[in-house]
């Protein structure tokens, strides 16, 4: 089971890069806003490959289902749009050792950390909170990319740009 942080949620990299190439058969979109958007849900549903299930759930319901092992028999990827939403799941359902940070795109107050990750101070805060739960944050857009440790890259970035010698634990 994969938990992926990606602010585009369901898109080409996810459908082709992850679901098709790793033969996943279950997509969970965990997002509190999206569950009210019937149009967007339909548009997403018609776009996924046949044989793949998709569900749109709130953050709380996703955590509950994880604790109940609801997707035990399926090959599942859970998508969240932010480090905050990932943290909200992880603190309720401590079932992941690793979280994939797949895509956070540059906008407003975000700064570019790596090729596929741009974050603002709130994202940074929640990434560190996830890290402090003992979970590895693995950065990569696609399964074929070389994974890197997001917290290590973040610490180096802070040291280089702000002279902040931050331990990965804060």
């Amino acid at each position: 089971m994969i938990l992926r942080i990606d602010d585009r949620l369901v898109h080409g990299q996810v459908i082709t890069g992850w679901v098709k190439s790793l033969n996943l058969n279950n997509i969970i979109v965990a997002n509190n806003k999206l569950i009210k958007d019937e149009y967007k849900i339909s548009a997403t549903k018609i776009a996924i490959p046949t044989g793949v299930d998709i569900e749109f759930l709130t953050i709380a319901k996703t955590a509950k289902a994880l604790n109940e092992n609801k997707w035990e028999k399926k090959q599942t990827i859970i998508l969240v749009e932010s480090p905050k939403d990932a943290y909200e799941i992880l603190k309720r359902a401590p079932v992941f050792k690793t979280v994939n940070v797949g895509g956070l795109h540059l906008r407003n107050h975000r700064f570019q950390l790596t090729d596929n990750i741009a974050i603002d101070t709130e994202d940074e805060k929640y990434l560190l909170m996830i890290h402090n739960l003992g979970i590895t944050l693995e950065g990569r857009a696609l399964p074929t990319d070389e994974p890197y440790n997001v917290i290590e890259v973040l610490s180096e970035y802070m040291k280089k740009n702000y002279g902040i010698n931050r331990n990965s634990k804060i």
């Binding site: 585009r8 080409g12 548009a43 996924i48 906008r107």
Partner: protein, 140 residues
């Protein structure tokens, strides 16, 4: 006389641009043919606003949007913008034969006919050449 038809190709990377340029190589420059690339550097928001601008500037025309694939970011943007706009028709899985046929036919047949035509050509445009050749041989 039905409204003029504008064509917009949206793709990941520079496929949309390459398709447009290739089509123009074959059938000549066409002012109704447009593309917007979603390159790695472009944000979701700026891509979306480019598409929105195109749609708003061509609101009095019929618009056909060709996408490279369903479910991708271009598709997601399109779905957001398309909502309630009756003059926009969206097709996913663009290829050169479909594009050429559409550009060549659009001024000569009605819009509903054009749409039916695209559906037909689209599903016929992937050809398993070996199979066709084998059929050809057995007929002899």
């Amino acid at each position: 006389m039905s409204k003029k038809v504008k064509i917009l190709i949206l793709s990941h990377g520079k496929l949309a641009q390459a398709l447009t340029e290739t089509a123009e190589l074959i059938i000549g420059k066409n002012n109704d043919l447009h593309f917007i690339n979603l390159t790695k550097e472009k944000s979701y928001e700026s891509f979306k606003s480019e598409v929105e601008n195109f749609v708003n500037n061509n609101i009095k025309f019929n618009i056909i949007i060709f996408l490279d694939m369903i479910g991708g970011t271009c598709y997601n943007v399109c779905c957001e913008i398309f909502k309630n706009k009756k003059n926009i028709k969206i097709f996913s899985g663009v290829n050169l034969p479909v594009l050429l046929e559409t550009v060549m036919n659009k001024d000569y047949i009605s819009f509903p006919e054009l749409i039916m035509n695209i559906k037909k050509i689209g599903s016929e445009s992937i050809v398993f050449v070996n199979e066709r050749l084998d059929k050809c041989k057995t007929k002899k």
